[in-house]
């Protein structure tokens, strides 16, 4: 007999460095859990597809909302309030008043549009001299102040906005106020609701991912009861038994996330052309907002963590139930 198998004294685990032991154990668990996924392709793919679909739904909804938001937030669509000053107010007086208004906390900025500028702008827009000629030499426009309100300060509510407009209307030199803000305020209110809905959908589908992975792991445990029993008989700790299952959950979550990103990219690619065509017709340079690297990373991290938690719950439940016996 070689002394290889039988030296009863100092078992290697007592001699080895604990970090090395731990690393070896992790490596075995990783290798083992990946092998299990690989060798159960059907159950693995079904689980991954379920997770991917569950993750793709809220993410695509999010992308839709996000795209609509960018569309309405784009430069040309910033809501403004136009203040028409009384006809006797000079350009200089208008400038002084604009400075005062710009100091309001609710105001992002305010600028003067003089009656001349307004006329030029009007001419450019109409693209024809006919109407202007018919107006003769008279410029019908008063001096105006264009105010861009700060929606975050106004709290994004319609009451806040109308209060603010009422205050402006009441100030001196103001003839009338035109605002095209109410529709954008409504849109913001809708987005607020949609964002809440999105949150709920995310939570529900996140829960789905958790349950799907938890259930997959639970079935896996059922199939491997004998293995767990035997490893316990030869001295496995709960930590050791749990480890490959946790990795298993982690992989399912992570690869499910990868698959969902793949699905989303394909879907975006599919939409790119018709959207570009539509944008062309509307003469905007709008293009789809895709999945940013940060969002991709978030999806992967969240799904991996969900997998880990699902596995943890499944194994924890099992381990708590049992004591060791032969």
């Amino acid at each position: 007999m070689s002394s290889e198998t039988a030296s009863a004294k100092n078992t290697p685990s007592q001699r080895q460095n604990p970090l090395k032991i731990w690393l070896h154990q992790q490596r075995h668990a990783i290798q083992f859990s990946l092998e299990r996924l690989w060798f159960n392709p059907i159950s693995t793919w079904i689980t991954l597809a379920t997770i991917a679909i569950a993750l793709s739904l809220p993410t695509s909804l999010y992308l839709l909302v996000h795209n609509l938001q960018t569309l309405t937030d784009s430069k040309s669509e910033i809501p403004t309030i136009t203040i028409f000053l009384k006809p006797n107010i000079s350009e200089q007086e208008a400038k002084d008043q604009a400075e005062l208004i710009a100091d309001f906390p609710e105001v992002k900025h305010a600028r003067v549009m003089s009656s001349n500028e307004a006329m030029v702008d009007f001419q450019n827009r109409m693209g024809s001299d006919d109407i202007i000629r018919s107006l003769g030499k008279v410029n019908p426009f008063p001096n105006m102040i264009i105010v861009t309100p700060d929606l975050t300060v106004l709290g994004g509510t319609e009451e806040g906005m109308s209060d603010f407009i009422a205050r402006i209307r009441a100030s001196k030199n103001v003839e009338s106020v035109a605002n095209d803000t109410s529709w954008i305020m409504r849109l913001h209110a809708i987005f607020k609701i949609v964002n809440r809905i999105l949150l709920i959908v995310f939570a529900l589908l996140g829960l789905t991912v958790l349950l799907v992975i938890g259930n997959t792991i639970r079935l896996d445990i059922e199939n491997r009861k004998e293995e767990i029993r035997v490893t316990r008989l030869i001295g496995a700790t709960n930590t050791y038994i749990r480890r490959p299952f946790l990795y298993n959950g982690l992989w399912l979550g992570f690869f499910g996330g990868v698959l969902s990103l793949l699905i989303l990219h394909l879907a975006l690619h599919f939409l790119k052309e018709p959207v570009a065509e539509l944008a062309l017709r509307y003469n905007t340079n709008f293009s789809l907002v895709g999945i940013s690297p940060v969002l991709s990373l978030e999806i992967l991290v969240v799904s991996a963590i969900l997998g880990l938690i699902g596995a943890w719950i499944a194994v924890g439940r099992y381990l708590r139930q049992r004591e060791v016996s032969e």
Partner: protein
């Protein structure tokens, strides 16, 4: 090393398996436990491995009363023991090699060390050429030997063997007994339950005979 003090074991079914057992085993000793079927041999071994708890009395191993061992430390304690089960409890979805490697994975050995040690253990029980086989392709005797290799591969300080030669032909049984003896000479404390009287007598070791208890 191993001490039984007034140990009785009654199973939850009401079956009394051991009654007032007193036994003392020095470190590095090798003893046999014999007795008729149902006399409590397996139960006695399980008490040492903490697979069962005594109903009365105390089992002390290495100076430590086992009932004082915390739940957390039981796995670590069990790793110092090589238990050869009557039914070897092999995992059918992995090869002979992977079955034998299990205790080493638990101990977190490096791949190269595992390979070396598993091959040496399989060599020892005469199964060097079967490492890639699955347990279902093996005879009962070969399975038993895989179980023995798995119990020995981590160099345990205590070896408990429950009818280790039950499925082996006499020649092989004798070989396996010598293997135990070699382990014992290297310092392991060995406890073997067997009802093969001829074999036990040939080994010339201390032998304890259990009487069947009549409740």
């Amino acid at each position: 090393m191993i001490e039984f003090k007034g140990v009785s074991k009654r199973y939850s079914t009401g079956q009394l398996a051991l009654y007032n057992v007193n036994l003392s085993l020095a470190a590095g000793e090798m003893i046999f436990i014999t007795g008729h079927s149902g006399s409590g041999k397996s139960t006695l071994l399980k008490l040492v491995a903490l697979l069962e708890r005594p109903s009365k009395g105390e089992v002390i191993v290495g100076g430590r009363p086992l009932n004082k061992l915390s739940q957390r430390n039981i796995p670590h304690y069990r790793r110092r023991i090589g238990f050869i089960f009557q039914d070897p409890h092999l995992l059918h979805d992995r090869t002979v090699f992977d079955n034998v490697a299990m205790p080493l994975l638990l101990s977190g050995l490096a791949q190269a060390d595992i390979r070396r040690r598993v091959q040496a253990a399989l060599d020892k029980v005469g199964l060097a050429n079967k490492e890639k086989n699955y347990p279902l392709m093996l005879s009962a005797g070969e399975k038993q030997r895989v179980g023995i290799a798995r119990a020995m591969v981590n160099r345990p300080t205590i070896i408990l063997a429950d009818e280790p030669t039950g499925n082996l032909d006499p020649e092989l049984a004798q070989d396996i007994m010598y293997t135990f003896e070699q382990f014992n000479e290297l310092g392991a404390t060995v406890l073997i339950a067997s009802h093969d009287h001829a074999l036990v007598e040939r080994m010339r070791k201390r032998t304890i005979v259990l009487q069947k208890v009549n409740p």
